[in-house]
Symmetry: C2
Subunit: 445 residues, 2 copies
């Protein structure tokens, strides 16, 4: 070994390549997922990086003698002949007649749970999470996070195509963006600092630099309550865009992103979508309704008596979701012009009515997946709003650099990656769509 050229050589192929090797001798590598002994032969299912491959062992195929050390979760290289399978569904389904098996490694113990059934049966979520390093070996479990990769990838690919720059804002911060009590404090060489609740202040600053920016990164919320929808660390997909003509530009960009993601999942993540029976929404045009019109609709059409005229409760969002689906034929609906009192300090008020804002939520099947809106870009307007809200503008001098030294009309949004995944799967708990969830009771594994 003298020089490294940059090419990894391998004599194994992937299952997708089987169709080009019908009748040929090939090798694959992977875990022994399952062994089923039949009369006179055995099925050996090999779990590769993205597939499970049916292999058949029978003494007549080759001189090879089955090594009794081979067990489930052994890592092996299997050599054999590609043949069309009668059992397996679809035209392009093949199996491998085993000629030889090379053992690459053996487990030290048997798995504590059964992972080689179609799904993890009768295993509580808590155990699934405790045993993530092995429970994720179940094909359906790992498909969830492959699909999640696709969602984030779609978000990124679409925005890069649209001229957005990828940024990396710090997670150790000197001030909280959103305020409130759910902020983690960190001792930083004797100084008190925080873990970032959102990249809000940084992405706005960088609109002044790159015009359009995005980030996909962890954010931290010290949630004191343990609900099925909250996490203490999650992945936020954020974008922010400058020189907008109105906050419709932000909504249009979001719809463009979502269309791109859904199409990507249906093409490049087809196997995972099928395995999970994920219900990928069709998106054409997304209807838009003003907050107060939605409240009126809820009261008149649905005879709902709202508790709070400044925001929606989950029941109201669900009704609006049903309305969107039934009457407007859409899985999504934008609600715009939320009351000023319920939106953060950087939200731009509607110039026609200062009680409301140029903001929106996107509901997906009756559940909020995004909050976004136009931001204040004028320095004096922002300082005035801070003062009105009892904030001290001097504490925000770095943030206000953007406004003081010139900011274009701009706005943006954030989408929680795990929540979006959860809703796409129809899961009941966001932890099902989180690889290693953190909540008030869980910080392992």
């Amino acid at each position: 070994m003298d020089k490294i050229s940059g090419k990894v050589t391998t004599d194994t192929i992937s299952f997708a390549e089987f169709k080009n090797h019908d009748g040929e001798i090939v090798s694959i590598r992977g875990y022994v997922h399952r062994i089923r002994e039949m009369t006179g032969f055995s099925f050996v299912i090999i779990r590769t990086a993205r597939d499970t491959v049916q292999c058949v062992y029978a003494p007549e195929f080759s001189d090879y003698r089955w090594d009794e050390k081979i067990c489930e979760e052994a890592c092996v290289k299997v050599t054999g002949k590609v043949v069309s399978s009668k059992d397996a569904k679809g035209n392009d389904r093949y199996e491998l007649q085993i000629h030889n098996v090379e053992i690459l490694s053996l487990p030290a113990d048997r798995l504590p749970i059964v992972i080689n059934k179609k799904q993890l049966d009768n295993i509580g979520l808590s155990t699934v999470l405790d045993l993530r390093p092995v429970s994720m070996r179940n094909p359906k479990e790992r498909a969830i996070f492959k699909l999640q990769e696709g969602i984030a990838r779609g978000f990124r690919e679409y925005l890069m195509k649209e001229g957005f720059t990828e940024i990396r804002s710090p997670k150790i911060v000197f001030a909280g963006a959103e305020g409130g009590t759910n902020i983690f404090k960190l001792d930083y060489f004797g100084k008190q600092v925080y873990l970032a609740q959102s990249p809000q202040l940084y992405k706005q600053a960088l609109v002044g630099v790159y015009e359009r920016v995005f980030e996909i990164a962890p954010v931290f919320r010290a949630e004191h309550h343990d609900t099925s929808r909250h996490l203490n660390e999650y992945t936020s997909m954020d974008f922010e865009m400058g020189f907008i003509n109105g906050f419709e530009d932000i909504m249009n960009t979001e719809v463009g992103v979502l269309k791109y993601i859904m199409n990507l999942l249906k093409t490049e993540y087809k196997e995972e979508v099928e395995l999970l029976h994920a219900d990928i929404p069709e998106i054409n045009e997304v209807p838009v309704m003003k907050f107060m019109d939605a409240k009126e609709l809820l009261m008149t059409k649905f005879k709902y008596k709202p508790q709070d005229m400044k925001d929606f409760d989950p029941a109201e969002e669900e009704l609006l979701g049903k309305y969107a689906k039934k009457e407007l034929g859409s899985d999504f609906i934008f609600i715009t012009h939320y009351p000023s009192k319920k939106r953060p300090f950087y939200t731009k008020d509607d110039p026609n009515d200062h009680e409301y804002t140029l903001s929106f939520d996107l509901l997906f099947r009756g559940m909020e997946i995004t909050s976004g809106g136009q931001r204040i870009n004028d320095y004096h307007e922002q300082v005035e709003k801070m003062v009105k809200l009892g904030m001290d503008p001097e504490q925000f001098d770095t943030y206000l650099m953007l406004h003081k030294y010139g900011a274009p009309p701009h706005g943006g949004l954030g989408i929680g990656l795990e929540r979006l995944t959860m809703h796409m799967l129809g899961a009941k708990n966001v932890r099902e769509a989180t690889m290693f969830p953190r909540d008030i009771n869980r910080v392992t594994p």
Copy 2:
């Protein structure tokens, strides 16, 4: 506004599109970067998302009267005629004869530093960092981080093409991966937890799930000393691959990644490379030398007297870098088989000589940019090594799930994004290549 279709409509174009509009009237949007009044006309440089565009204002072009409110850092929409410029270099260089200017926003104050010169002159690094939201508006400063986007993008694109899955490991963790004192402690509802120093344990676990995985994410190190090479939060580009034939597979994948990145920078980030005079290395084959052979070379050829026979000091790395360039014609050199005593507990020893490991560092122009290697995949071997090192295997039971329940031969590496950017630019301080650096003295902005 009733429906959102997903298309953002704009009547402005980018500078790259000028060549298709020679002689036509077009509009652009951006910041007023610089105004230079000449005799009878003015140059108005507009800073768009990725370019600076020369516009010329002269009363004879149009009826428009110059609005005296227009100042540097105003956000504007400029309409005018595309004309070939005699001054500007290159064939495809155009300027805009201003017909009209629409003011979109005005700054509240003048910039505290001059950002519209070729580079930030005579401004100390500390001031540059204090004023990042505005200092980054300098075209050269922002080009650094556009180039950095390209490096991370290249890493990701190449690995996805090679069948790697993108993962997102938690940053709030229950145990440190690398150990040592430079770990941030966090109070987590009364429990002591940590900020992740590396995704090591998670990426290894996920080799058991996806075979090949990568992550680009922040990591945290509580560095108590303030050096030009250390950061307390940085972006780690990690990958881990299973079913390797040897640790050469990891080195080959790294060389493949680096070749892809350099090519991407030379094509899609050409303007930034030119603006920064970045010296993008040519990579053909990367030479490889064993640790002890390198020590010998240093002693015989360079008459260097090493202080430490278990590791290299910076002077030694520099000499090896010079040797690689002069004698082997390469900006890069791999040093392999580092002594066991200097590598982490999960490193696989060389089966031929247990004093050394199947590990490597990659030196780029005499500076280490990567540590990597093959990991122990056998359960008993890993437990034994832990015990030998005085570690308690029970504390690592979640980590050892991988080994206990079966792990293929595997290995991986990590590259610090900011350090790689720094070396590519020939910068002296890693903070120059970090958007919002955190060190023992700095946690703002």
